[in-house]
């Protein structure tokens, strides 16, 4: 089969394929995951001006930036979790680059999440979705559209005195997606791929545990998922090539046929 990449490029240039930016702007005030304060913390995004057409550099503007691997919209590699620590090619610098482009199934649970910040994605919910849109194709990103990215930061982080209250998958759903649907990875709009109260599941943080345990990937802090069709979008998410990196802030793009969505 010969593939006409020039026609593909022309489709993008001409608008027949829309490019949707699924990335949050890397900004200092964007919430970062919060762990108990005695544990190690992921650094928030910070920016320090090197020069701005001034005495520090008269004709140029540039910045030094700092952040954690899991700051802002970011990619999780299998090595991030203990269950994936011994897999081959499990870090951002060794993952096959072909894995950075994959189709997506977008599960819209925004209505349910608006009513219940503790909405839990179940196998039954996915089966109901499949009844309408067809089976999730193997090798697909499963993206959870919650419209969480539209919330002000206080509600977005959802922190209460008993932890975060944000939607996410139950353990059985993650296991099923990996084992029965052979998905590529799991992506969310929330700060992590896991349910806000996911530390109380068995296993704790199942989206991390099962996905990374089977060499699958994670995307979080996504936005604009409401602009994607349930099926038919292709995701481009290539993390920085950090030596033995567990993840990386990433620019996530979706390619969507203009006829869809």
């Amino acid at each position: 089969m010969s593939i006409d990449l020039l026609a593909f490029a022309q489709a993008i240039a001409g608008g027949a394929v829309r490019v949707v930016d699924l990335t949050q702007t890397l900004a200092q005030e964007f919430p970062t995951i919060v762990l108990p304060p005695e544990l190690g913390q992921c650094a928030p995004f910070r920016i320090e001006e090197i020069s701005r057409y001034d005495e520090r550099g008269p004709a140029w503007y540039w910045n030094n930036i700092s952040m954690g691997e899991h700051t802002g919209t970011h990619f999780d590699a299998p090595i991030h979790w203990i269950s994936g620590k011994d897999l081959p090619n499990n870090a951002v610098d060794t993952i096959d680059v072909a894995k950075f482009i994959a189709p997506a199934a977008v599960l819209d649970c925004s209505r349910e999440c608006a009513a219940d910040p503790d909405f839990m994605l179940t196998v039954a919910f996915v089966e109901k979705w499949e009844a309408r849109h067809g089976k999730i194709a193997p090798g697909s990103w499963v993206l959870l559209r919650t419209d969480w990215s539209k919330k002000p930061y206080l509600g977005y982080a959802g922190l209460s005195d008993d932890g975060a209250h944000t939607p996410g998958p139950e353990p059985a759903a993650v296991k099923w997606l990996v084992e029965e649907r052979d998905v590529h990875g799991f992506g969310t709009e929330t700060i992590g791929t896991d349910y806000g109260q996911g530390q109380h599941f068995n296993p704790p943080y199942p989206a991390h545990f099962y996905m990374h345990g089977k060499g699958r990937y994670g995307l979080q802090c996504l936005t604009n998922l409401d602009l994607l069709p349930p099926k038919g979008a292709v995701i481009v998410a290539a993390p920085l090539k950090i030596k033995q990196g567990s993840g990386s802030p990433v620019r996530v793009l979706a390619l969507v046929p203009a006829s869809a969505g």
């Binding site: 005030e29 910070r46 930061y153």
Partner: protein, 413 residues
């Protein structure tokens, strides 16, 4: 009777803001014994070890017996105002624009007569107490105060030149998430600060005391994150020209030394929150503070650093924390030199372990946040530069003066 200070009127935007001026500041090396006493609010003169003569002005030998053993010693500050006058003109530009200026001669009970600035409530022949104060140039001066407190005495214009009284001034407390920040907001509100700006970082993270903080009179919550240069810059752009006292309450307390800490993540956070935070704050707010040192009743007047007393000597149990505090102390000394041209004081408030969560495992005595807040406001009202709050801080201060090496060994446990 001191006329109570009137709430300053809003500035006429057509009038130039007067540039800060300084009184003459040169002192001999020996006379800096007075600076040291004034910085901590003591009254100390040289007392001859051999013949007990009290010496003033400072000398390198006793004028009575020629002994070179003339250490500065805290003494009683009582005296009688034997002569007074008002200066109506001066070649010193600082005093020129502050005339008439009252000065007098006080015969101290302990012997010497001293020339002193006079509080408005002291009259010739009256009993007075003489305090050593740091003037706008940071130099030590004598100030004669009424023997007993008088109503509104802090509002006296000559006294207010050497203090940093928060009354009618606008204060910025950099971090309202901490118990200390909240106690300070309350203390400054009670001290009649006209606005208490309180910085809050990461407003999406709830914190204890948030509602009671908001309820304090004249408190205004503002977005401020000392770990974020842009946030500090934006806050200074918005409110920097109307902040008269900056109080850095940024806190990062974690136990642990250096060798047994796993990696640098925590140390980086310590340095970022404390040392870099101080630098960001100084760069953003320093220029406006320095320019507004003579801006009327609510002129810019002080930059307050809250420092662990272990900035002065490392406490290995909290060793990495101590090192970050030491960096802040060094920066504060630089800042002091840089803000002095504006007549803005840098107040360093040293404290031992606090009665807060991160010192949970440390036995008492510990400093309650409210006590620390009271000490800060008190030190500003007195115009001090260095304050040691609580038993541990005072103990470290004393032991450091006697034998730093012994202190180092003993803190190592």
């Amino acid at each position: 009777m001191t006329r109570p200070l009137a709430r300053p009127r809003r500035k006429n935007p057509l009038k130039r803001t007067r540039a800060p001026l300084r009184p003459p500041a040169v002192r001999s090396r020996t006379a800096h014994g007075l600076t040291a006493a004034a910085a901590e609010g003591h009254f100390a003169l040289q007392v001859c070890t051999d013949c007990r003569t009290v010496i003033y002005p400072p000398r390198d030998a006793c004028p009575a017996c020629l002994s070179p053993r003339v250490p500065f010693t805290n003494i009683d500050n009582g005296g009688t105002l034997v002569a007074e006058t008002s200066v109506h003109t001066s070649t010193e530009v600082y005093f020129r624009e502050r005339t008439p200026w009252r000065v007098g001669v006080v015969a101290l009970d302990r012997g010497p007569s001293v020339v002193a600035h006079l509080h408005g409530d002291v009259a010739e022949g009256a009993r007075v107490r003489v305090e050593l104060k740091l003037d706008k140039a940071g130099a030590p001066v004598m100030m004669a105060l009424p023997e007993q407190d008088t109503p509104d005495m802090a509002d006296d214009p000559q006294l207010r030149e050497v203090t940093c009284d928060p009354k009618f001034r606008r204060v910025l407390i950099t971090d309202g998430r901490t118990a200390v920040g909240q106690a300070l907001a309350k203390a400054f509100s009670e001290a009649q600060a006209s606005i208490v700006f309180v910085g809050v970082a990461d407003p999406w993270k709830p914190f204890p005391g948030m509602n009671s903080l908001r309820a304090i009179e004249r408190v205004e919550i503002v977005p401020l994150d000392l770990t974020d240069t842009e946030s500090v810059t934006e806050q200074a752009q918005q409110n920097g020209a109307r902040v008269d006292i900056v109080v850095n309450t940024a806190e990062h307390v974690r136990a642990g030394g250096i060798v047994d800490r796993h990696g640098l993540t925590v140390a980086r956070e310590e340095i970022d929150a404390r040392y870099f935070g101080l630098l960001r704050l100084a760069q953003a707010f320093g220029p406006a503070l320095r320019a507004r040192g003579a801006d009327g009743v609510n002129s810019a007047t002080a930059f307050v650093n809250l420092l662990s007393v272990h900035a002065l000597m490392n406490w290995p149990e909290y060793g990495s924390y101590s090192a970050a505090e030491a960096a802040c102390l060094s920066a504060a000394q630089c800042l002091r030199a840089e803000l002095r041209p504006g007549g803005v004081k840098v107040l360093n408030v040293f404290f031992g372990p606090l009665e807060t969560e991160w010192f949970q495992t440390v036995p008492p005595p510990k400093v309650a946040p409210a006590a620390l807040a009271r000490a800060v406001v008190d030190a500003l009202k007195r115009g001090l530069e260095d304050v040691f709050v609580g038993d541990i801080a005072q103990d470290v201060r004393q032991r450091l003066a006697v034998n730093p090496k012994a202190l180092e060994r003993e803190l190592a446990g």
